[in-house]
């Protein structure tokens, strides 16, 4: 055996093969059966112990060197390693093998140390990469569920935790939105002393977050001091089992949670924006549909002029007006007001429109028709929804009017000679009580007379001091303008209410329908 060659080989590689060759030679020289070398320092997983890294022989020597060792084994302490052998005997002067073993062991130790350092450096890089990628996710991952899962996976992995859970604040509670490796409480209260104790890393806290975990660690997920959630991990792993987290782990997790907070807030805002966009699209669609329900023009009735106007308070309104061709050449005019605003009101308006077309078009106005209409609305709407409605049937040959009112504002008939007749109010709104009876009444429309049907959005239009526009102002306006073109009267009503409101936002939908019997029997 050329010791110099062997020393060279050990110096250059210090591989287990070469060391085991040396060990085998030593065993032969020393007359022992088995031998093993133990490293003096940290192992790959950070544990400090003397662990076997090379061994030969038929006897299985221990994995970890215990102190004191079993008397059955012999031991030689080398410079930076320990040689254990069996059977125990005195090993005198076995030549340069001791030196070779020492050198080989030292090289192995250094190599392992470098390897560990390299591993740890790389894993720090993995941590940095994870935090960096979470920063990228702020701009890209807007799916809240996906983001939450990703945050939890990375947090557990980075801390070498056995289990973990993530909670998001919803209302007053922290709701569990993901868990790994065990069972976590479904919800927590932020003001629970146990939660506070856990966040403050108080010793002896009996945590109830990760059930059965021995070593918990939790950090808040917060942005600008506002709590958004909680990130909890438990039981830091090593090769032997689990142990407590280090202060460095708390710092890493805290840093990670900061990034997570920004990413989660972005995702939440994105969700809100999407929802808002969806609602706006829905409202636009509802508004479009509702506009289609309103008359596009006015019907032509020789001897009469008709005009209507509607201004919703919101994008989608609850007012309705329409004209219907009734039986025997008569004309029906209707103004209605549905409870509520926005989409629910619009849907009920649509129901009303269909019902009116179905029940009234081509029919004669009879009291039973209103009962049927009422029943239809009762069955089609929710209990707290109702419709006020006024319907007028015009006989164009005689100027006769037949009126039905279901809880709506009284119409106004402005006589040509300057008096004003209030049509009867009263009657139960539609949709409230099934089986309600409705009575109609009749009056004549003379030449030059002007009929005005309107919704309470006109008369209840409020000024800054809460005074209402009122029936009196409407009556006076109609009297003053009764000879003007209908379009001008409508425009005047619109501007008058706007000026009266003096900047106050429109609180209710506004609708006006005008009908005038021409003086000379023909339309102007």
């Amino acid at each position: 055996m050329n010791w110099a060659d062997l020393l060279g080989e050990v110096s250059s590689s210090a591989s287990a093969g070469s060391l085991e060759t040396l060990l085998a030679l030593w065993c032969e020289a020393a007359g022992v059966d088995s031998a093993a070398l133990y490293a003096d320092g940290e192992t790959l997983d950070g544990e400090t112990s003397q662990r076997r890294f090379a061994g030969v022989g038929s006897v299985e020597l221990p994995e970890v060197l215990a102190a004191p060792h079993d008397d059955a084994f012999g031991r030689i302490d080398l410079a930076r390693a320990t040689l254990l052998f069996y059977p125990a005997r005195r090993a005198d002067d076995v030549g340069p093998i001791d030196v070779l073993l020492s050198q080989g062991s030292e090289i192995r130790r250094l190599r392992d140390s470098l390897r560990r350092q390299h591993f740890q450096d790389n894993y720090r890089l993995v941590e940095l990469e994870a935090i960096y990628e979470l920063g990228l996710a702020i701009a890209s991952t807007l799916d809240l569920e996906q983001l939450t899962e990703e945050i939890l996976l990375r947090a557990v992995s980075l801390c070498d935790a056995r289990s973990g859970a993530i909670y998001l604040l919803e209302g007053e509670e922290l709701k569990q939105r993901g868990t790994i490796g065990g069972y976590a409480a479904p919800s927590l209260r932020p003001d629970d002393p146990m939660v506070q104790g856990l966040l403050e890393a108080n010793e002896g806290v009996e945590q109830r977050v990760l059930i059965g975990a021995e070593f918990p660690l939790a950090v808040p997920v917060e942005i600008e001091g506002k709590l958004m959630g909680l990130l909890a991990v438990a039981d830091k792993e090593n090769r032997q089992g689990v142990g407590p987290f280090l202060e460095a782990d708390r710092r890493t997790l805290g840093l990670f949670a900061n990034q997570a907070a920004i990413a989660l807030e972005n995702a939440r805002l994105h969700l809100e924006a999407l929802e808002k966009e969806r609602l706006e699209r829905e409202m636009e669609l509802a508004a479009e549909i509702q506009q289609r329900l309103l008359p596009k023009g006015t019907p032509s009735f020789p001897g009469f002029e008709i005009a209507g106007w509607n201004c919703p308070a919101w994008q989608v309104g609850g007012d309705y007006y329409g004209y219907m061709a009734l039986g025997r050449g008569r004309l029906g005019l209707v103004v209605a007001d549905v409870t509520g605003k926005g989409m629910p009101a619009a849907l009920l308006v649509s129901t009303l429109h269909s019902a009116l077309r179905l029940l009234l078009e081509g029919s004669e106005l009879g009291d039973s028709l209103f009962e049927q209409l009422n029943q239809h609305i009762v069955e089609s709407s929710s209990p707290n929804k109702f419709i006020t409605l006024i319907l007028v049937e015009l006989d164009p040959e005689t100027g006769g009017l037949r009126c039905l009112n279901a809880g709506h504002n009284p119409g106004l008939l402005v006589r040509d000679e300057g008096s004003v007749v209030e049509l009867e109010a009263g009657g139960m709104p539609l949709g409230l009580v099934p089986g309600t009876n409705y009575d109609s009444w009749s009056l004549e429309m003379g030449f030059g007379d002007l009929l005005c049907l309107y919704s309470d959005g006109i008369t209840e239009c409020a000024a800054p001091d809460d005074e209402e526009f009122g029936l009196e102002r409407l009556r006076n306006l109609l009297l003053e303008d009764r000879d003007k073109p209908l379009s001008e009267i409508l425009e005047h009503i619109e501007t008058a209410t706007l000026e009266f409101a003096d900047g106050c936002p429109q609180a209710d939908d506004q609708t006006v329908v005008l009908l005038r019997r021409c003086r000379d029997g023909s339309a102007d």
Partner: protein, 113 residues
């Protein structure tokens, strides 16, 4: 993904595929190592780890995988991986596992090579 590691083994001509389902941590890694060493004892020199149902690996798990890789190198075999999540793929590259293994997008690609 299962809470504790579950493994399924497909034995094929010349190669064994270990399908993992769960967290590759200490427990998961030890389980993989146990099965891998059994397969090595059976004579398999090429092992493919299918990580389709694994979303998370920690440093303990990685260190165990490194030990398996070293063992495969020792017997002149090869440990390969497929169906890695982008995060795990990047982790393996940073940790240097990719230098000593093959990483495939899926089993079909692994089978073709």
């Amino acid at each position: 993904m299962a809470d504790t590691m579950k493994l399924r083994v497909d034995r094929r001509d010349g190669m064994a595929v270990i399908h993992t389902d769960g967290y590759i941590n200490n427990q998961g890694g030890e389980e993989i190592a146990r099965v891998a060493y059994e397969l090595i004892d059976e004579g398999y020199k090429f092992l493919l780890l299918n990580l389709a149902k694994t979303k998370i690996v920690n440093s303990i798990g990685i260190s165990i995988l490194i030990e398996i890789i070293e063992k495969m190198i020792e017997i002149e075999g090869k440990l390969s991986f497929c169906d890695l999540t982008p995060t795990i793929d990047k982790t393996f590259h940073i940790m240097g596992l990719a230098q000593y293994t093959n990483i495939y997008p899926d089993e079909a690609a692994a089978g073709q090579s």
